[in-house]
């Protein structure tokens, strides 16, 4: 009996000691979200109601995922997961939200920042994250306290603006090895979204010192990255730490025929666009496309715009232009082939590809009038398989692995 008491005391002591250790070094990165999926779906724009979005965390899914256990938001946006938190950045309203994920995967609103016009959000560490405002400000925030640390002005890049056209900082990509932040700059005519600039422009910011370093340009294509942030989907980094940048040359509408859509590269350790590398997508027979995901072995996926699907009744190109993924070779600058088992998705609700940890597959959305679903793309077979259907278009998704 005494041994039993001794054992109990030892266990209690160990457990308390363990708790004490946790308290001594709290990190919001120690998360309970492992193996889950944070998903943001869009529902609405019917019956006179503006579109709204629903955020939920799933560890399992059925053939159809509903929004029954999702948290309602009134805007579309993008999400970022970190630790036990999901950060929701709405594209047009003025509040960035932090949700705490509970053990039952329900969400509790746990802080809001007033930041209008958010385009993208990324978290680097417990104490450092960045929010990109499309009106040319980069805001550093503390993910743990969820407060703004400082604001970095990008106004110097507004020099190409006249009264009518405007600039849009739509997407940022953070290179983790040196915390360099690359921000896609787009100079656009604001009603038609036609680009007024005929070159690629990217701002470079040092995420350690918050110093705005420079603007790098390249005139072989234009419109880099994504117009609205979607988890860095216009940039992708390969196993050599080289960054590849998707340049759509017009986002699937108002394409400028004078220049080709293409892929540019920033070599590892540098902050310049590699002058010796340009993947001309037109020459490769791919044509206009958006997004890029490097999968290793000099291969990547991009969403090719389907020219047969983009004309409406008046021969106008629509923003709902249809896209489907294709596999490309970044080294030989050639098309490997189209993905099978996948129809077309629209640009409007976001295009993204989220890789698994094992590097053999990725998730991607299919949002169309026919279905809203999440597909799994096998890199080896080049076949996409529907994993589950969703209630509403999947705007953004984060896999926590």
């Amino acid at each position: 009996m005494n041994k039993l008491y001794q054992l109990i005391i030892i266990c209690l002591t160990l457990s308390l000691t363990s708790c004490g250790d946790d308290d001594a070094s709290p990190s919001i990165a120690d998360n309970a979200l492992s193996g889950t999926y944070a998903m943001l779906t869009n529902v609405g724009e019917t019956a006179g109601v503006q579109g709204n979005s629903f955020l939920q965390v799933l560890s399992e899914y059925d053939s159809t995922v509903s929004n029954a256990t999702a948290t309602e938001n009134t805007n579309k946006g993008t999400i970022e997961t970190y630790g036990d938190y999901i950060f929701f950045a709405p594209f047009f309203s003025a509040d960035v939200k932090r949700y705490l994920v509970n053990e039952d995967h329900s969400l509790t609103l746990d802080g809001e920042l007033v930041l209008p016009g958010v385009a993208d959000i990324a978290v680097i560490s417990d104490t450092k994250g960045f929010i990109l405002q499309n009106a040319f400000e980069l805001v550093e925030f503390n993910p743990t306290t969820f407060t703004i640390t400082t604001t970095i002005s990008l106004q110097q890049f507004n020099d190409k603006i006249t009264e009518f056209p405007f600039s849009r900082a739509g997407e940022m990509f953070i290179r983790e090895s040196d915390n360099k932040i690359f921000i896609a700059l787009n100079y656009i005519e604001n009603m038609t979204f036609q680009h007024i600039d005929d070159e690629v422009a990217i701002a470079v910011v040092d995420g350690n010192t918050n110093e705005v370093e420079k603007r790098i340009t390249d005139d072989r294509s234009y419109s880099p990255g994504m117009l609205i942030g979607s988890g860095g989907q216009g940039f992708s980094i390969d196993e050599n730490n080289d960054i590849y940048i998707s340049c759509s040359a017009g986002y699937g509408f108002q394409a400028n025929e004078l220049k080709s859509p293409g892929i540019l590269r920033i070599k590892s350790g540098t902050t310049e666009i590699d002058p010796d590398y340009f993947f001309d997508l037109n020459a490769a027979g791919v044509g206009s496309s958006v997004g890029i995901l490097c999968i290793g072995g000099n291969e990547a996926y991009t969403f090719k715009r389907n020219l047969n699907q983009i004309n409406d009744d008046f021969s106008n190109v629509t923003i709902a232009a249809a896209h489907r993924p294709v596999k490309i070779n970044l080294s030989t600058k050639s098309l490997i082939g189209e993905v099978s088992g996948y129809a077309y998705t629209t640009f409007l609700n976001g295009i993204w590809m989220k890789p698994f940890n094992d590097g053999t597959k990725c998730y991607l959305p299919l949002n169309s009038d026919d279905e809203n679903a999440v597909y799994e793309l096998d890199f080896t077979t080049n076949v996409a398989t529907k994993r589950y259907e969703t209630i509403g278009a999947v705007i953004s998704m984060e896999l926590v692995q």
Partner: protein
């Protein structure tokens, strides 16, 4: 007008009141309606104008006498008091022609009898405007307290209002002023700005719409009329909270035997700076020094509103023809405080203005034009200049502090960076003709045709816009047969309608900036309706009506409004099946009315942001609505006149199986109130301080049950955006003495948090003082 709250008597035995109704030339008037205000009893005159109104021995009549209300097609309603000693006498009642002779026989809202007692076959509600004309009230107040009607408010003076009738709202509801669609009537931009003193009655048609309107409404018509000369001479001034000043003038006077000169004018100015935020408002906040959200309570700082109108009229009549001509100028300026759909987007400098020049008139057959045929012609032309200015690069927060400079102007769409300096020049033409043929005393045939033409062009500093005007034309024609059977106990109206529209869009496509020249639009549709009313007894009506209705796209929907919607040539007309079934029953001083309604609508036209650069109206929603409303009028302790009503409506979204949002099938329509109620208590006292004065105290309560901003089926209960339950109290005190009326009022008495459209907060408690001077009486 005598108030019948004094001593009461009963007849010693059953008695009949007999008489004849004639016009001023002593010609008998058939089908005139004679109503006893005290008992609610009524009768219509026969073919030679004779009537006999029977009273039972237990019916109570004030000793001062009985007030009879007598109305007839084309004649001004008369109210006469018949003293006890004259009950045995034969009553000769003369009615004077009024400008319109083609009105249906309706009970005017001036009457003291319950407004629930409506003999027409259509589902129509009469809305009382009598006391409201001297109150600090507008058409919204008049409608808000009626059953089955919900006014969706946009926030203070000049806000965007919508009217919901039996579940349908927005453009599916048409508003008419003196038989002309409001936007063509020369009364300015918004009905809510019109002083109620200009209107003699407000009628709300639910479901079946009389052919005479020539309307393509889907869910109902709100009809405001100003033909009653009794209210046409007054001057008013109102001062209210939030730096609000209102003044109005209504004049009409005869010039000789045949001419009447009139003038309507009003002016409204308001800072509209009521408090918003805190409580359960999650839309009003600022950032603290660390960027965290702080909810605050502040005054609106950029919400001012001014409008004014001048509208002279000239009327004439002889025995064969009557006519009216009018012209008007209306001006409006409204500051914008926040994005309409998202109050978190604060606006500090943008505003819009609207100017309208209009002229129009009506011609109609005179009283001696013939026994069988009568006709009417309404026409108008309006020139409108609509201007939106949203160019500021400054970004404000809810404390009116300048917090940022945007790289490009445009506050309303926030950092979407879309500046506007858009001017729309719009020409509007309206023409309506009607013909009534009296087949015999029991059957009338009416036909009506309406033509509207809309022509517009746009100028915008920030966009290249085609200078070629777009045009859009609609034709709505209809014919109906109105019959009476079973000694007038059964009234039946059967109608057929025809709709056609055509147009050409010359403006630019929002995406390609390519002109949509020669993009033609056209379509036709048809509709039909049947309405039947059965008078089961002197105190009970049973009504049933059905209409297959069409609403053609509005010019704004086809051509875009120039600001937030763009042209589209894809729109189809909306269509609906409308069914109403109502029962009205009176028991002594109690009147109970019930109305069941069912609507099945297809292809509702709604503005979508599917393409956020190029929002256009689309046919998207199929909605099924069921509902029931109850209304009570009763006297309480012979001191209080009490009215109560409650409306429940269930609107269900029914997308087609092929629609991408089929998963929302049968979901409750979001952002739509489904349960609301009103309660009013009124007491009056005559001869309070002297023999000629009168005081009245009224208390209103308006209740709205909480409802979801977004889809009910989506999201967890705890995360839903909810428009909270609301109780709005209002206290009115009016005092009349000779030609003056004084009103002192408190609206939203308990300063409750009130919301409506897209969670836009409505004003809190406000105080109003109004003085009305009757002229030339």
């Amino acid at each position: 007008m005598p108030l019948m709250l004094g001593s009461i008597s009963t007849f010693a035995q059953s008695i009949s009141l007999k008489g004849q109704v004639t016009d001023t030339t002593s010609q008998p008037l058939a089908f005139a309606l004679v109503i006893s205000e005290a008992t609610g009893s009524y009768v219509t005159t026969d073919s030679v104008g004779l009537f006999q109104l029977n009273f039972k021995s237990d019916q109570r009549i004030p000793l001062e006498g009985m007030v009879l209300s007598v109305s007839c097609l084309g004649y001004a309603t008369q109210q006469i008091t018949i003293r006890h000693e004259h009950f045995e006498s034969f009553q000769s009642i003369k009615l004077w022609p009024k400008p319109s002779i083609l009105e249906e026989v309706v009970v005017t809202a001036k009457q003291k009898v319950s407004l629930l007692l409506q003999p027409q076959a259509e589902a129509v509600s009469m809305v009382s405007t009598e006391h409201l004309s001297v109150n600090a009230a507008n058409i919204n107040d008049a409608l808000q307290y009626s059953s089955g009607i919900k006014v969706r408010l946009g926030g203070g003076e000049g806000g965007n209002n919508q009217y919901m009738i039996n579940g349908l709202s927005g453009n599916t509801i048409r508003i008419y002023w003196d038989d002309i669609p409001f936007e063509y009537s020369g009364y300015g931009k918004m009905p809510v700005n019109i002083p109620l003193g200009f209107a003699s009655s407000v009628n709300v048609y639910k479901g079946v719409l009389p052919v005479r309107f020539g309307a393509d409404a889907l869910g109902g018509v709100i009809e405001m009329k100003s033909d009653n000369a009794n209210v046409n001479n007054q001057i008013t001034y109102e001062h209210a909270s939030f730096k609000t000043h209102k003044a109005s003038l209504a004049l009409s006077d005869s010039i000789g035997q045949k001419w009447i000169l009139g003038m309507n004018a009003f002016f409204t100015s308001s800072a509209n700076n009521y408090y918003v935020g805190k409580g359960n408002n999650t839309q009003v906040f600022v950032a603290d020094e660390l960027g965290r959200k702080q909810f605050i309570r502040v005054r609106n700082f950029h919400n001012a509103f001014q409008t004014y109108l001048l509208r002279p009229t000239l009327s004439f009549q002889n025995n064969k023809i009557k006519g009216k001509a009018w012209t008007s100028y209306a001006s409006l300026k409204k500051e914008i405080q926040h994005n309409r759909f998202d109050p978190t987007i604060v606006v500090g400098e943008a505003f819009w203005t609207d100017e309208k020049w209009a002229l129009g008139g009506r011609l109609e057959s005179g009283p001696s034009a013939g026994d069988k045929f009568s006709w009417l012609l309404n026409y108008s032309y309006t020139y409108e200049k609509l201007h939106l200015i949203d160019t500021s690069k400054k970004a404000y927060n809810w404390k009116a502090a300048l917090i940022d400079y945007r790289p490009v102007g445009g506050e309303i769409l926030n950092y979407a960076a879309r500046p506007f300096n858009s001017i729309y020049y719009i020409d509007k033409y309206f023409l309506n003709g009607r013909l009534i043929y009296t087949i015999n005393k029991n059957h009338h045939w009416i036909t009506s045709s309406t033509l509207t033409v809309n022509r517009r062009r746009t100028v915008d500093d920030f966009r290249n816009i085609s200078t070629t005007p777009s045009r859009y034309m609609k034709i709505v024609a209809g014919t109906s047969l109105k019959s009476k059977f079973l000694k007038d106990k059964l009234q039946n109206i059967v109608s057929l309608k025809y709709y056609q529209y055509t147009g050409q869009i010359a403006e630019l496509d929002g995406i390609t900036a390519e002109p949509l020249d020669n993009a033609k639009i056209d379509g036709i549709s048809a509709g039909c309706s049947e309405a039947i009313s059965l008078r089961m007894s002197d105190r009970s009506f049973l009504k049933a009506s059905y209409e297959y209705a069409t609403r053609l796209p509005d010019p704004n929907e086809i051509l875009g409004n120039g600001f937030f919607s763009f042209p589209t040539i894809k729109l189809l007309p909306e269509r609906s099946h409308n069914l109403n079934l109502s029962l009205t029953h009176q028991v002594k001083s109690w009147v109970l009315a019930t109305n069941f309604f069912y609507r099945k609508t297809r292809d509702l036209i709604i503005l979508l942001g599917t393409d956020f650069r190029n929002p256009t109206y689309e046919n998207r929603s199929n909605v099924v609505t069921r509902g029931i409303e109850f209304a009570f009028d009763f006297r309480l302790f012979d001191v209080f006149q009490t009215q109560a009503n409650i409306t429940w409506q269930d609107l269900r979204y029914r997308p087609d199986r092929s629609d991408h949002d089929f998963f929302l099938y049968n979901d409750q329509l979001p952002n739509t109130p489904y349960l609301f109620a009103n309660f009013s208590l009124e007491t009056k006292k005559e001869a309070l301080f002297n023999e000629e004065d009168q005081a009245a105290l009224r208390y209103h309560i308006h209740y709205t049950h909480e409802y979801f901003l977004l889809w009910k089926s989506q999201g967890t209960a705890g995360s839903k955006n909810i428009i909270p339950e609301q109780w709005i109290h209002q206290l009115n005190l009016t005092y009349r003495h000779q030609n003056f009326s004084y009103a002192a009022e408190a609206h939203n008495l308990f300063n409750s948090y009130a919301y409506d459209h897209f969670m836009t907060q409505l004003p809190g408690r406000s105080f109003h003082l109004k003085i009305t001077r009757q002229l030339f009486n």
